[in-house]
């Protein structure tokens, strides 16, 4: 039994097959990368995993328990957190309140939720922003808030959707450091990323998809050399 398992998952939007019969497993403690060109179905896969929409076909298991079809909030409660590529800050709440909204999943006490949120903000180097309304944050901090808020729910498995997109090189370094710190804290990570430096640098294994289908999988080195991957990213001529 694998820690996390996606079995033959397909998601269709009308005639468009966004995710096409994907099967993969993720082991506890690893950083599992997913890459693919724009529109290849990465975000849709995350949306299916946390059941923003149910899969058209297939099954998803987390620690042996079937989770597809469970309500989104239940999936989070089971220990699967996620961030959003298009960030979703709770705009009129402060940074601290945003993170507290996550922390309340594991406690009903306001003071304990606040303590947990401050801890997480510290972990993500966002504590100095705690009283800023989320809508006033620059993009780098919004991305970080996404991570902090998801961490506050105490996930065992964290889905990160393009947390480095739109960051400058220094911010990207910091984001990578945070992700590695999360992994060291014992949290399993599935990460979707366009920034090759990030995904190649931190993933243990990578799945490459195009048009919703698997085109390659393996270690970062194997993926970087894989002809299908090169073709998908650079076009036929380079393969």
């Amino acid at each position: 039994m694998s820690y996390f398992e996606v079995k033959g998952v397909t998601k269709k939007f009308g005639g468009l097959t966004a995710v096409d019969n994907l099967t993969f497993t993720v082991e506890q403690g690893e950083i599992f990368g997913i890459i693919g060109p724009n529109g290849s179905g990465k975000t849709t896969l995350f949306n299916v995993i946390n059941n923003f929409y149910p899969p058209t076909a297939g099954e998803i298991y987390f620690k042996g328990k079937r989770i597809d079809g469970l309500p989104t909030h239940e999936i989070c409660k089971l220990g699967i957190g996620r961030t959003f590529q298009v960030v979703k800050p709770l705009r009129r709440m402060t940074v601290l309140e945003n993170v507290m909204a996550g922390a309340f999943l594991r406690t009903a006490s306001t003071s304990r939720a606040r303590a947990r949120a401050l801890e997480v903000l510290d972990f993500c180097s966002l504590a100095h922003r705690k009283d800023v309304p989320a809508k006033a944050l620059p993009i780098a901090d919004r991305k970080r808030l996404e991570i902090a808020r998801a961490l506050a729910t105490n996930p065992e498995l964290l889905l990160l959707d393009e947390t480095a997109a739109g960051l400058n090189p220094k911010e990207t370094e910091e984001a990578m450091a945070i992700i590695q710190k999360i992994c060291k804290a014992g949290i399993t990570i599935i990460i979707v990323e366009h920034v090759m430096k990030v995904i190649m640098g931190i993933s243990h294994r990578i799945l490459a998809i195009n048009f919703g289908r698997e085109i390659a999988r393996g270690t970062p080195q194997e993926i970087a050399r894989h002809p299908e991957v090169i073709k998908a990213y650079l076009g036929e001529a380079y393969a």
């Binding site: 309500p71 909030h73 989070c76 979703k88 709440m93 909204a101 309340f104």
Partner: protein
């Protein structure tokens, strides 16, 4: 989410307790009672519409149910209408339950529309079901007191209770969840927040407090008919305007909005009749343009504006000043 500060609260409570004794004209006391009724209504609506972002266009349904719960107790059972203060909230809550269960599962403006329809349905049913409700002739009861003072203190207690309930709720886990749902339901769900359930947690107390205000209203004015207590324009929409005026998702905003609304409508009703409502509508539009978060929501903006006025600062257009 701001904490209440105790000194202003104590002073406010003292003023509220002594105020009606200073006013010997019953009409002035009446105005205060109506402010408190509207403040309670606004506070109740605000929990659901302001904090949780579930805008209801039909809170008259709960108000009317509360009022009729009290009135019909007298009409059919010759019981004391004060039992309505218990029955009203219960009946309003019982009706709110299925509405929420059905509408909150759906995305989009279903809840707002369903509530709008509900208020109108109740108005029609209570107008036409003459054998049970006495129809358009309404319900007339004997008022318990001739003095306004007991009503004033009861209304004050009712308002204080509603503020207390809403304050406690919004400063707890529930409040964070309410606001999270308002700000982004998808993000909230992804944080493990069961949004449907928490919308119910906001709707039920909101309906109960609105039903309470309705039951009190029956006792106070001693006469109701369906067109008054189930009114779309005069109750359902007006409570929204009152909250927007004072400041949605603020603790004292609804009370401030209620004071402005009642004061304006009493001042101008004599000369202008129904046009006084129009005046309030225009004022609300102005407030939303210049103080999008309502009077209480933009206290800082107002303070800055007043300071600059005092300092004789004259440059710039008015709008810019207000936004300062």
């Amino acid at each position: 989410m701001r904490k209440l500060s105790w000194l202003p609260l104590a002073i406010g409570a003292l003023v509220a307790l002594l105020l009606p004794m200073g006013l010997s004209v019953p009409y002035h006391q009446h105005i205060l009672v109506m402010v408190l009724v509207w403040a309670t209504l606004g506070t109740a609506w605000n929990l659901l519409g302001g904090y949780t972002g579930q805008v209801s266009f039909g809170h008259a349904a709960f108000f009317g149910l509360g009022a009729y719960a009290a009135g019909l107790l007298v009409h059919h059972l010759q019981a004391s209408p004060w039992w309505g203060m218990l029955l009203g909230p219960v009946v309003a809550t019982l009706f709110a339950l299925p509405i929420g269960l059905i509408c909150f599962r759906l995305r989009g403006p279903y809840f707002a529309l369903a509530m709008l329809a509900l208020g109108e349905i109740f108005r029609l049913v209570f107008t036409n079901w003459v054998s049970f409700t006495n129809g358009a002739r309404g319900i007339l009861i004997l008022a318990s007191f001739t003095s306004k003072l007991p009503y004033y203190y009861m209304a004050l207690a009712m308002f204080a209770a509603s503020v207390y309930v809403v304050y406690r709720l919004v400063n707890s886990k529930w409040g964070y969840y309410f606001v999270a749902i308002r700000e982004d339901q998808d993000a909230a769900e992804a944080l493990g927040i069961p949004s449907t359930r928490y919308k119910m947690y906001a709707l039920l107390p909101s309906a109960a407090l609105t039903g309470l205000a309705g039951a009190f209203y029956m006792n106070y004015v001693a006469f109701i008919d369906p067109h008054v207590v189930f009114s779309l324009g005069d109750i359902s929409v007006m409570v929204i305007l009152v909250v927007m005026m004072g400041g949605a998702a603020t603790i004292w905003g609804p009370a401030v909005g209620a004071a402005i609304y009642v004061a304006l409508s009493e001042m101008f009703r004599a000369q202008w009749g129904a046009a006084s409502v129009l005046l309030f509508g225009i004022l609300v539009c102005l407030v939303i343009m210049f103080l999008p978060n309502g009077v209480i929501g933009e206290l800082d903006t107002l303070r800055r504006f007043l300071r600059r006025l005092r300092e004789g600062y004259a440059g710039g257009k008015k709008g810019e000043l207000l936004r300062g």
